[in-house]
Symmetry: D3
């Protein structure tokens, strides 16, 4: 759902810098979300339209009314290479706001993909194009072009606040929003986590228990855990 | 959900003509739904049980009570080659009304597939058979054979009205019902749309914006859209 | 949801015998559920995280509070080769209680997979590991380690009662719980059903109607079914 | 959801006769639904906006697009005293399509109430007016007036097929549709049921068991029921 | 959902003692649930059919198949004064399994009310009778009498395990199950909690902060909480 | 769901001015939402815990983790007379984060009510206190006090962005957020709308059609609407 005024297109937005986006793209959503302190995740109903879809880029946001995708065309003009379009609707709607024609246009502008809190269609074509989309629904139902919304304002998409220029990272585990100002720090924290995990993984694979590796036994006892036979 | 009286099997139904069904089968659900004026789509919770499932055929309808699939066997006898069984239940139910044995029987009768506003099971076998099913749920739970319903009456399936003999088209984007009387006209309109889309697609791929191709800029301005920096 | 007291880990549980588990593993969930008299099925929202995931093993149960996966590490120590961890939460939660590190640990202990009435993450890695998981949700959101729950108590998971040591069987059609005491009998009944189905299948494939094969016509007429033209 | 073509208003519809509507209005929804053979019930998410709301009248139908209530005004003109407006939307939408101004207009035309598979607003005012509404949602969100739908075509509302002129009966137990052609017969069957129930009620109140009153014991035993201590 | 074998009625069950049930009836569900260590609560979709409904009694359990309420009549015979019927269904169903006739019968047997993981009807009459019911749905749709289930076996109702004879307590906050063996202890713990709360309430009403009353400030600081201006 | 960093309490926030809040409190949510251009509405699942509950005040925000209400006590200290606490959780949770003790404390601090995207309990007491709460769920399940969240940061609550100090208005029609900076303008627009509605209402009550009053006939014809008999 959107956050404020309608009928506005902001042309100049500040995008997270490309090097940071590239660095973030190397990590999974779970790692980045954890690195950020467990905030910024969209709701779990947002799913990729094909297995293996993933994307990372800077947000161009669009807010529309239910059943009306006019602003998608307005958003297309604001896309720069490396952007991800993040689409919100003013109330719940599963209509197909996006299909293969818009995907062709978005890709021609350099878009990395789409995240939409609504429905999309032409999923067979989108899959053939390998154009990654994360959506709430799949629906053949088309939309009209009658009311204006906004482009590049702050929007709430699937429960997460997105500002234009934020980094959007999506994979099999969901969609996370990294505010542009925190992107570098998040990338570094993610890298640190990942380095840290390799060693843990090999210990666990060797049969070491998390109880011992993380030294949990004392804490559990203090918390009152009892073993019985 | 069903629409009227129970305990009736209609043997002679008028099916949409084969040439039209064949023509409709060449188009996607989104195209046909659009061609029909955006009516006749089932709700978006109807999903294929395997990726890539699609079907096109004439409806044999069946209305059952929750947890009771007796009428599926009655429906089997009414199937003619090229039919799609459309199954509705008098109230919401996720039980598995259909599995590999019924699929074997339906296929032997010439059925093209099943659309059911309830659950199915044996999905691994159905996938191996490449027997297309669009359903609300997958459930191992079997059903009883105790109460009669009806076959080949008008039914409401996943929010769409289906008369026996209507054309049912289903793919990754959903399930659409084309009334038999409108089938030829829908096929022609779908064809016209598709021819029209190829040119649009190549323009958009070349970077032309929908804003310009569809001449939207003036309308947007009149609707009050403002650009800011 | 869980069934009784918190803060307890039961170390010695009686598992269904290995030969019976192995025998049950040859059948599908639909067959076994039917063989048991249509009881013991988890709700249909429990889905495999990758196509084709299936598992069969003896239950190690764990009950946790929402957003807290501390007890997963406690459960890991109780796993014996051939076990399936069955995880319940005291109230609805979609957080990711489980990821690739825990999967590595569980596998090192000999676990056959996980059934969890909550979310999991790192699904790409879990798929690459072919570690079967049946869950309610996929979520990148991690959990804390602050409150104790229990291990190897009776739990309610997705609507089904699970005692430690019960046989858990899961495939594309869902998840069924076979109480340890009934496992042998269920396996035999499943075998009988399956033998019985081969003959039915070939008759149906040859075009024999279920109406005739199951001798339903008289019953339907008695129940009031009318044929009209 | 709607059933066919858009952009049409049918002015002359055949309404169920007033005496029959009046007779049906004396019964509860459960009684009438049962009398009709358990068909024609809307889905259970349709709820009255205030406790005790109930209505009975002849349907004026309206089909709209999501977020667009233009056709409500078109429908108003078609209302005759004793009508109930039945509103469907081409895809799921919770927006508030109806509020106190439209209720004032509908009442001035003689409407008995509204049944809508979407949202309504101004519920405090509607309650004060005692204008009965059965809806899927309550939402303050207003709608636009940009696209045409249809009035007095067959519509699917909350899973039930409604033709203009059908009798609509709604109370605490839900909403049932009685086709105009079956209304008299349904009213008579409902009356018979109700007469029949008074005697049953007094027997049950005196402690007679349904098992004995309905002579169920033998059937249960034949069905395999066992009593244990 | 149910837990084990079908077709069985257990006549002699051990009920929690009357004095304890009476004592538990003085407390709210939230208090008792807390006193038990936060286990045994049914899912939050279980709601009273009228405002202010509440009940407390010993469970007579019944397990039915979807759309079939035959066993309700069997359960009626097993009711003793002070019992609450707890009804589960083998898969999700919203049909109306219970109405005013059964309520009349149950009340004549001394039942305190009904808790059902399905639908009920005749809610206006039930409200007039002040017969408390907690259910998942309200539906006018009736059921058949064709298949046997069980009475007084362990059932899973709305996510909670219920054994016959357990104490069932329900009010505006939900439904909690107190195992018979733990009932006395739960009643005492609830009493202790309640005595404890009066003092807290008056302190808080006087403006004392929970931060101070519960001495939370140090813990919060240790957990890293920062105050900024 | 929350929007950014955890572990922070902001003490000094800028609240919308009291006169404007008081002015907004005279209007309904539907009127204010419309006056703002149809933005800022929370999702429709947010419902009052008792009929007639309504509130208007300035937001004190709190972000918590699922199952953990520790920060509610931290928020209590930040409440000033006229505030409404707006509570968000980092992932979906229905637990009862709030009951009569916290309500007593909040009221002692001058709070006007609570809006929470989670569950609450003790609803009977809250109703007796006439302490207005709008929530997603009612649940007896209590929470722990183990993890820190934040107070007075921007949060996303039920799909709407809320900054501390914004005006929160809630009644039977839902919950709307009015950004502090736009509050005066929204109040004036609401007043203008309301004045405008009285005249419309009396015209409609006199039988004037919206079609004529709003001069819609020509637009409808242009849009293609056809009348048939």
């Amino acid at each position: 759902m959107g956050t404020n005024q309608m009928g506005v297109v902001k042309r100049n937005i500040e995008r997270a810098d490309k090097a940071t986006v590239e660095k973030l793209s190397r990590f999974g959503v779970a790692t980045v979300h954890e690195a950020m302190g467990r905030v910024g995740l969209m709701q779990t109903y947002m799913r990729p339209i094909y297995a293996g879809a993933h994307l990372c880029g800077t947000a161009v946001t669009v807010l529309m009314h239910p059943g009306d995708n006019w602003m998608m065309h307005v958003a297309a003009e604001q896309i720069q290479p490396g952007d991800v379009v993040v689409a919100a609707v003013t109330s719940e709607c599963t209509d197909g706001f996006f299909g293969d024609l818009l995907a062709t246009s978005f890709r021609a502008r350099g878009a990395k993909g789409l995240v939409i809190d609504a429905g999309v269609r032409d999923t067979k074509d989108l899959t053939a194009m390998q154009f990654p989309v994360f959506s709430k629904a799949i629906s053949a139902k088309g939309t009209i072009k009658a009311t204006v919304g906004s482009v590049n304002i702050a929007v709430v998409c699937a429960g997460a606040l997105v500002h234009p220029g934020d980094v959007i990272l999506a994979d099999d585990d969901g969609v996370v929003v990294v505010p542009a100002a925190l992107a570098r720090q998040a990338a570094e924290a993610a890298e640190a986590r990942e380095n840290n995990e390799a060693e843990k993984r090999s210990k666990l694979a060797a049969g070491v228990l998390g109880l011992d590796m993380y030294k949990m036994r004392e804490g559990l006892e203090r918390a009152g855990l009892k073993y019985i036979d």
